[in-house]
Symmetry: C2
Subunit: 136 residues, 2 copies
DNA sequence: GCTCCTATGCTTAGGGC
DNA sequence: GGCCCTAAGCATAGGAG
């Protein structure tokens, strides 16, 4: 019996693997259909045994899977473009912010320059004449 | 607590439905990843809540789903053509069998015709002359 | 909405045939 | 390979905060 917790590792023994595969695939499909029923959702699953001897299991049907795939692809295109647009907006915002910063910095610099010029000039012009000779 | 077996019916209460949806989706994804690990398979699932407020859940990833979908589509084209070819073979076989039957029937008929002609002729020619007048 | 809890039922590994 | 059984472990409904 299943005395210890399942070891979540690849089953190398083919027979055992196949048994587990069948049992768990069945359980999985049951769970999917239950979720589908309980919550009124559309769902599909594609399961490819790596050993290609067995066909891929498609639930609930190939037709549904195809339909959902198309829908999903369309949706992802839309989402991708949305994401792209969102990113573009983000970048534009950043650029705008950066521009704003640059502008402010320029203004600041300009103000400082002017101030500095004044400072450079004013102090000199404000040095009392009696000190001018002393400093030299 | 879950005293009685789950009633497998659509949950109309939105809050309860959402709770169930989240719990069971989580469980489902866990089961899928376990199956994937244990049996070394590729699998993907797409789950669309019918209430479009929530994004579709794609497991394990959109990229994987896309890849598997392409593969699946290709495969189904191949399988479809295989099926078509198999059907064509089958139809051809049936035609061949039918032809064979027709041929045999024709041969039989021909043989019967000949035999009949002989029967038609022979008995007449074998009717004793003393009876020929009686039958009329 | 959420996290955490826990009783209960479901799933399933292992084994027999 | 299949089917059936059982014990153990797991998932989860319902509730509390």
């Amino acid at each position: 019996m299943t005395r210890n917790g399942v070891k979540l590792a690849y089953i190398s023994n083919d027979a055992a693997k196949n048994v587990t595969y069948k049992k768990r695939k069945k359980g999985l499909v049951k769970k999917m259909s239950e979720l589908s029923t309980l919550c009124g959702i559309e769902a599909c699953a594609i399961i490819y045994p790596s050993t290609c001897d067995s066909h891929p299991k498609v639930w609930p049907s190939a037709v549904t899977a195809h339909r959902m795939l198309s829908h999903f692809k369309m949706l992802s295109v839309v989402e991708r473009s949305n994401r792209t647009m969102a990113q573009e907006r983000l970048v534009r915002q950043r650029i705008a912010h950066a521009d704003e910063k640059v502008k402010k910095l320029c203004e600041n610099n300009h103000r400082k320059e002017i101030t500095q010029v004044n400072l450079d000039r004013v102090p000199n012009s404000h040095i009392p004449p009696w000190l001018e000779t002393e400093s030299n």
